[in-house]
């Protein structure tokens, strides 16, 4: 039966089932290795010492000896790159006896964590509120609003940045001491919302109305039904929107870079971008910076992949 759909596989038409399965797995393993190779080579590079970074001809592993090109016993791995990112300085007042002075850790990552958590939190709540209405109420203009959301989601962010930057400058002039981080978070929430509302509406549509009606009959208010009945059932869906927004903001560069005029309000991706020029030929440090900012999202993704796939396929097929 499985022999019907395999047209583009490397022609295992008349192979026995066992051999076919082996071939298929080999092909997929090869694909995985190709996809993961850039990440893997960056990881290896981040642990090289400077003299191995500058070996000619370039080598993937720092395992060459005077006689051999590869000798497992001779592999040299160091934390030199990471030291350059952390720039830990001994400081008697600090908790652990030293202080991290590398700007990625002291400034940019904390900003990113703040932006990502705050945005994900507000996007989840606001999109749940809007999506509930779109899913449960019928009113004039509902369809038009939903289509407008999709159309707005398709307007490229870059084209709006000029106007947003002018707005930011205007606010800065009018309110001298305002907190720019709040503006940043509002912008992120606005950019993530249209897509999030569509995805969450999809989740709400799958929750039977009868459950709420039962709660209403039992004397629950409409708002109470939303909080007590619908929200708990929608938790997996809402979690996926939270995670998606979190990862999107964590990875975002251009909006943050162009809207925040002060360097110390920018996020981790700016830190990496800035590090390109700073690290000159310390490619191990540049690789280490990449590893440090990508590991959190990879870990989050690996632990929650099911939730991720769900939000993405749902969202991509409607929007």
């Amino acid at each position: 039966m499985a022999t019907t759909v395999k047209s583009l596989t490397p022609s295992p038409f008349h192979l026995p089932k066992r051999a076919r399965s082996v071939l298929l797995n080999l092909a997929l393993i090869l694909v995985c290795m190709l996809m993961l190779f850039p990440v893997f080579s960056t990881l290896v590079l981040s642990f090289k010492q400077q003299s191995d970074v500058r070996s000619l001809p370039p080598r993937l592993f720092p395992c060459n000896t005077a006689t051999d090109t590869f000798d497992l016993a001779a592999c040299r791995f160091f934390g030199e790159g990471y030291e350059r990112v952390f720039l830990a300085k001994p400081s008697p007042n600090a908790l652990l006896g030293f202080q991290i002075t590398g700007r990625i850790f002291s400034t940019y990552l904390p900003n990113t964590v703040l932006y990502a958590f705050a945005t994900a939190f507000f996007v989840t709540i606001i999109s749940a509120m809007s999506a509930y209405v779109y899913s449960r109420y019928r009113f004039r203009g509902r369809r038009a609003l939903m289509i407008a959301l999709l159309v707005l989601a398709g307007v490229p962010v870059l084209t709006m940045l000029l106007a947003l930057q002018q707005t930011a400058n205007g606010i800065r002039r009018i309110i001298p001491g305002y907190e720019e981080r709040i503006f940043m978070i509002i912008v992120y929430v606005g950019l993530e919302l249209p897509f999030a509302i569509w995805v969450v509406k999809g989740f709400f549509d799958t929750i039977p109305k009868e459950l709420e009606e039962a709660a209403l009959i039992d004397g629950c208010s409409r708002f109470g039904a939303l909080v007590r009945v619908v929200a708990p059932l929608a938790t997996p869906g809402l979690m996926s929107i939270f995670l998606l927004a979190f990862v999107n903001v964590w990875n975002e560069f251009i909006v943050n870079y162009l809207l925040m005029s002060k360097q110390n309000l920018r996020g981790a991706m700016y830190g990496v971008f800035d590090f390109i020029a700073q690290s000159l030929s310390s490619y191990n440090a540049l690789a280490a910076a990449c590893v440090l900012v990508m590991v959190p999202v990879i870990v989050v993704f690996l632990f929650t992949r099911r939730v991720f796939f769900r939000a993405m396929v749902d969202g991509a097929i409607t929007g």
Binding site: T4, A163, G190
Partner: protein
């Protein structure tokens, strides 16, 4: 955006319900509408307004100049060049990504026990940011010490020694007159890196479409003597064609708008070889501060995007209940 008339599912007035309960949908919608209006709608309209204005030298006031900015934009050589780069980039990027994604999706469609594991591993590049992905690929080709640098410095493959890295070597002389073809090695490399980043997502979309092809139809096809190739050509392909089109539009959208990777991988260079429209927009609007021109380019790009989005909506036929 029009204010929404609050409406309740039942039209018979229920006396004991409070004003808050009756207007609940309105209050629930309000925060979302306000934020979207401020962050998405207003800037789009303001950009459109800016595109027909020009700042008067001296006074700094905006004056209406009609389509002046657009005419100015279309006549610059920089715009024509980056349009050509964008078209070349999009062509290669979309074709390469779609072909690879279809191949991988067809492999995954076979019933392999470890499929979930493979999908997860293949998906890792997608969760990386553009900037990090750009740096990762940049590290492959940094002068002399990158893993791929010797390959790109090979004079037999890339004609003469034009520098030690594709980050610095310019394009070969064009064989098509004004169109910069063949593109600079850096642009091809940018294509490859961008395709790597988006490939997981594209694969997932196509895989989802493949899984909607009913097994019974394929089985009856094979009973009727269809070979694997025939059943792909005459059963699977027609059924997934709408998804392929949607995927293509998604790719085009992402390709036109993506700028993070250009920033971190090539910085638009060498020269202007990888300056695509989105990067041009950045350099006009934020480096040269020519707002009118940047707004005109923004408007053009938004229009292009709207056409793509509307076509996608047509194709998917968003029929919400």
């Amino acid at each position: 955006m029009r204010a929404t008339a609050p409406a309740t599912p039942t039209h018979t007035p229920v006396p004991k319900r409070s004003a808050f309960a009756r207007t609940l949908p309105f209050w629930l919608l309000l925060p979302g509408l306000l934020i979207i209006a401020a962050i998405q709608l207003y800037p789009s309209l303001f950009t459109f307004y800016l595109s027909v204005q020009r700042i008067e030298p001296g006074t700094g006031r905006y004056v209406f100049r009609g389509l002046d900015n657009f005419a100015r934009l279309l006549s610059t050589q920089q715009f024509q060049e980056s349009l050509a780069h964008t078209v070349l980039f999009l062509g290669g990027y979309c074709a390469f990504t779609l072909a690879c994604a279809l191949g991988i999706a067809l492999l995954l469609r076979q019933r392999v026990r470890l499929s979930p594991l493979y999908i997860t591993l293949i998906f890792v590049p997608w969760v990386l940011s553009d900037v990090v992905a750009g740096v990762i690929w940049r590290l492959f080709v940094v002068p002399e010490y990158g893993l791929f640098s010797p390959f790109f410095a090979n004079p037999d493959l890339f004609g003469g020694s034009r520098g030690i890295s594709i980050l610095t070597s310019p394009a070969a002389p064009s064989i098509l007159g004004d169109l910069p073809f063949p593109p600079a090695p850096a642009l091809i490399f940018l294509m490859l890196a961008s395709a790597w980043k988006i490939l997981p997502f594209t694969t997932l979309l196509i895989l989802a479409a493949l899984q909607t092809v009913p097994q019974e139809v394929l089985e009856s096809g094979s009973i009727d003597g269809a070979t694997g190739r025939q059943s792909f050509r005459y059963i699977t392909l027609p059924l997934i064609l709408p998804t392929l089109a949607v995927t293509l539009f998604n790719l085009t959208l992402g390709g036109i708008n993506g700028v993070g990777m250009v920033f971190s991988l090539t910085g638009g260079g060498p020269g202007t070889a990888t300056e695509v429209l989105s990067y041009l927009l950045y350099s006009i609007g934020f480096a040269r501060l020519d707002f009118g021109l940047a707004a005109a380019l923004s408007t053009l790009m938004s229009m292009l995007n709207l056409v793509l989005v509307v076509s996608t909506l047509r194709l998917t036929g968003v029929q919400e209940d």
